[in-house]
Assembly symmetry: C2
Homo-oligomer: 178 residues x 2
């Protein structure tokens, strides 16, 4: 049940913005009464925190898997871009982290800490991947900003082509080197 509630909350937060999901909606979707949601998550802040912590772990696992199974550093970075491309869901959704960064409630301290931890983790992974490919590590922030911004543009136009257009030059630059 906990998982079911989190799944729905994530879906709504990513497709319609952080403030878009309500206890009423989660309850309806899980087919329980609205106050029953509070048994699993005392407050909305706690729910938000659980949401981003779970997302954190999932992405971390995905990145580890990519790093371990990619034949070349180039392929590794290509799959990173693809990970964010899939998260964009044809321009209809955003990475949970992007949705939280733009939302009001992200000012909650615990959530903000979790958000910072997310960025730190991804940036660390990116630095290692870039380094393995022979590129400067300081490009990590650029690459993360690029894919996050690309998601935003794709959502604004509800067209994944915008994501591809934005990331194409970076992907092409990977081919030129290693």
């Amino acid at each position: 049940m906990r998982t079911k509630l989190l799944d729905r909350a994530e879906e709504l937060a990513r497709s319609r913005g952080f403030d878009a999901f309500s206890f009423a909606d989660l309850a309806r979707h899980a087919q329980i009464a609205k106050p029953s949601v509070h048994h699993h998550f005392a407050t909305k802040a706690k729910l938000s925190q659980a949401l981003i912590l779970r997302y954190n772990e999932r992405i971390a696992d995905a990145l580890t898997e990519i790093a371990e199974t990619s034949a070349t550093p180039r392929r590794c970075l290509e799959r990173f871009v693809d990970l964010y491309r899939e998260a964009a869901q044809d321009g209809q959704a955003l990475c949970l982290c992007v949705a939280f960064s733009a939302g009001r409630s992200s000012l909650d301290d615990d959530v903000l800490d979790a958000l910072a931890a997310f960025h730190t983790g991804v940036l660390g992974w990116l630095r290692a991947a870039l380094s393995a490919h022979g590129r400067p590590e300081r490009e990590a922030e650029s690459v993360l900003a690029l894919v996050e911004g690309a998601q935003l543009m794709a959502r604004a136009s509800v067209d994944i082509a915008r994501f591809d257009a934005a990331t194409a030059p970076f992907v092409a630059s990977l081919a030129q080197q290693g």
Copy 2:
């Protein structure tokens, strides 16, 4: 009064997310009664539309001014990055367009059209600026995604340094050429 209301709405939308501003808040700030706001903007959707249309014009004017007064194509693109840097307000706010792209109500048709027009305008400007600098026009989407994503990261960490770190490689690449 209309301007006063729009100013407050923009401030809230950019600093706390699109869904953060309410008629009650606008009324309080303008020191009029809450229903009086409806005299200026019949619905919240109309208000949102007016908000982004005004933003559209302001940015278009700023970009025209930059294009006309920059000594070199390189300086022109540097000032573009600076425009977005200032809009980030030390990591406490977002470009209105970014805030709208992430929010729920951006699904409103009129607002979505205005959002698309905004992107089209900025991308057109960027293509001309990049071309003048001897870079491929297809980098326009990348540059826009970069500065929008950089704003998002700066806001997540409430630290403008993240914006600078993300945009630094691009700015450096401008110096190498023209």
